[in-house]
Symmetry: C2
Subunit: 120 residues, 2 copies
DNA sequence: TGAATATATGAACAAGTATTCATATATAGA
DNA sequence: TCTATATATGAATACTTGTTCATATATTCA
């Protein structure tokens, strides 16, 4: 298993292993999409918006006030969240209400939270 | 519940609701840490590394070859993953073997995957 | 129709980040 | 000790991205 040979610039250390792992890798596109998906969670503003929406649907103004940010900033981020199919909206006159559109969000958050708390 | 009043520049639409949600929000630091945690998953290279390590521990060279990237690029990313406590390493001579250091990773990935596949 | 306002959006800017390149460190073997 | 090599790392660069600012759109109400 561990056939050592010149490495890094030309050859491989564990050639069989690499080939074996290569074949078990999901398609590039799937991994790319997965990274794009998690990228959406990788921003404090968006995390805060999602946590707010755990409690209740809210309009853009409400969220902006809650987070102490401009309406524009929130609107831009809601666009990202909607693009990722994490929130949906509902229009009532001039007011647009946003709410969660995914059952996995809470589960994903909880997993992340657990990881963080397991560290000293 | 829906007391409408001038909005956005000065006042709030649903003042009670906002106050209520505000009190249920986790502390800022926790949300920040959570975003930082997910940020680590938000990169294709790191996702690919983690998927590779699902199969087996691997040395830096192996990973670089597997992904068709330079040793330096992989090393930099492994540093990020280690900083997030997602991988650990073990040294054997000159060779450093990396492996997963977290049980939640697979669960988190699966949740993300499910979300993505539920979209047409 | 005209004024007020809730939201959306394009462009610009600043801040963050992934990769590359050059090089340093550390270990094995001669 | 000297060479080879596996990995780490700092600096520079190119690219991405979050926010702001100005403005457009859409809807309500007079």
């Amino acid at each position: 298993m561990t056939e050592k040979s010149p490495c890094c610039d030309i050859t491989i250390i564990h050639e069989e292993l690499v080939e074996q792992v290569r074949q078990s890798m999901p398609p590039e596109e799937a991994l790319f999409n997965l990274a794009e998906f998690f990228k959406v969670f990788g921003d404090t503003t968006r995390i805060r918006i999602l946590y707010a929406l755990f409690q209740s649907e809210m309009c853009v103004c409400d969220i902006a006030h809650l987070l102490g940010m401009t309406q524009s900033a929130i609107s831009h981020q809601l666009r990202v969240l909607k693009g990722a199919k994490l929130v949906r909206n509902r229009k009532e006159g001039r007011v647009v209400y946003y709410s969660l559109d995914d059952d996995h969000i809470k589960a994903i958050f909880d997993q992340g939270y657990q990881h963080i708390q397991e560290q000293d």
